[in-house]
């Protein structure tokens, strides 16, 4: 009985073992993974080619805290992303959304394939027609030249 009570008392510490602390915010491992997933998709505005997760800039650290606080509060991912876009514009997203500004960016592979086909088609069309097959007289002449 006493042993069981002791085990029960130790239960909360088991839960604690699953908690992690990052940038001063304590959250569960699942929440931390979610927060990292969000931070990986956001650009650090200070060093511009790093994600918020990977950057050591103090602004990135502050944004990591905000993400984690919102994750703990149960805010959905989309809403956290929207929070960042509202403040810093779509440039904060490492993967730019499809918008009139990015049509050319996302369309460029299709454009390249289309141009390739266009070139191939133009090259085929302009190719010189194959020479006419040899006549019997020509063949006889050739035979005479080649075979001594």
């Amino acid at each position: 009985m006493r042993f069981l009570v002791l085990l029960l008392l130790l239960l909360p510490s088991l839960a604690r073992a699953q908690m992690v602390t990052r940038d001063g915010v304590t959250l569960t491992q699942a929440q931390e993974t979610r927060a990292e997933g969000i931070g990986d998709q956001l650009r650090c505005l200070v060093c511009q080619n790093e994600s918020i997760e990977g950057s050591s800039a103090s602004l990135a650290a502050q944004l990591r805290v905000i993400i984690r606080q919102q994750v703990v509060a149960g805010v959905p991912d989309r809403q956290i992303m929207a929070y960042m876009v509202q403040r810093y514009g779509i440039f904060v997203l490492l993967k730019p959304p499809l918008s009139p500004l990015t049509y050319l960016l996302y369309g460029s592979p299709f454009l390249a394939v289309f141009l390739g086909f266009l070139f191939a088609w133009a090259a085929r069309r302009n190719r010189a027609p194959p020479p006419a097959p040899l006549s019997d007289a020509d063949r006889a002449r050739l035979e005479k030249i080649l075979v001594p």
């Binding site: 505005l45 511009q48 103090s58 602004l59 905000i66 876009v85 403040r87 810093y88 514009g89 440039f91």
Partner: protein, 184 residues
């Protein structure tokens, strides 16, 4: 047939030349300070600043978004810090601007009151009103990503312009002055 070959031969060369010309233009404009590849458009432009209330410094009154909701004339909000080198660089420019009667309200970003007082003693105080954002959380709501940043707010309280970095003579002449003329 021969012209086609020549065209095929020239096409890649022309593409490289066009790329080079484009690249050269970018570099030249970067040197002239008319193009900054790191500059970001602010989503705040065309909108009022988000709600905030910031304390003042050394007993002075701070200010909130309602204080800049309808200024009598266009004004600047300047984010700065005593630890920021470009801020010290633009300090003489801000001082001159303040002399012309343009209201400049300052927000000290992640700074200590003593350090700010020292900074203002050393470089002069161009600010009509001064507030402190010690945590930097209001800055995040504004979309500030570094100091100095300067926002132009028109008479209806709407942000019309944001400049990230020091205000140089060039920025003043080509960026701020035309807008000041337009919105005053």
């Amino acid at each position: 047939m021969d012209t086609r070959r020549r065209l095929l031969f020239a096409a890649p060369l022309l593409a490289v030349a066009a790329g080079g010309a484009g690249f050269y233009t970018i570099l030249r404009r970067m040197q002239e300070n008319t193009y900054d590849p790191h500059a970001l458009p602010s989503p705040l432009i065309g909108h009022k600043p988000p709600p905030f209330t910031l304390p003042g410094l050394n007993g002075g009154p701070g200010f909130s978004n309602t204080d800049i909701a309808a200024p009598p004339r266009p004004m600047l909000v300047n984010w700065f810090a005593s630890w920021c080198i470009p801020c010290a660089e633009e300090a003489p420019m801000l001082y001159q601007l303040a002399q012309t009667g343009l209201p400049i309200w300052g927000i000290a970003y992640q700074d200590k009151p003593d350090a700010i007082a020292n900074y203002l003693n050393q470089y002069g105080n161009p600010f009509t009103r001064l507030a402190a954002d010690a945590s930097g959380l209001t800055a995040i709501n504004w979309g500030v990503y570094g100091v100095p940043e300067t926002y132009l707010i028109d008479k209806t309280g709407i942000v019309r312009w944001r400049w990230a970095g020091a205000i140089t003579l060039d920025v003043l002449q080509n960026g701020l002055n035309p807008l000041l003329a337009q919105y005053s």
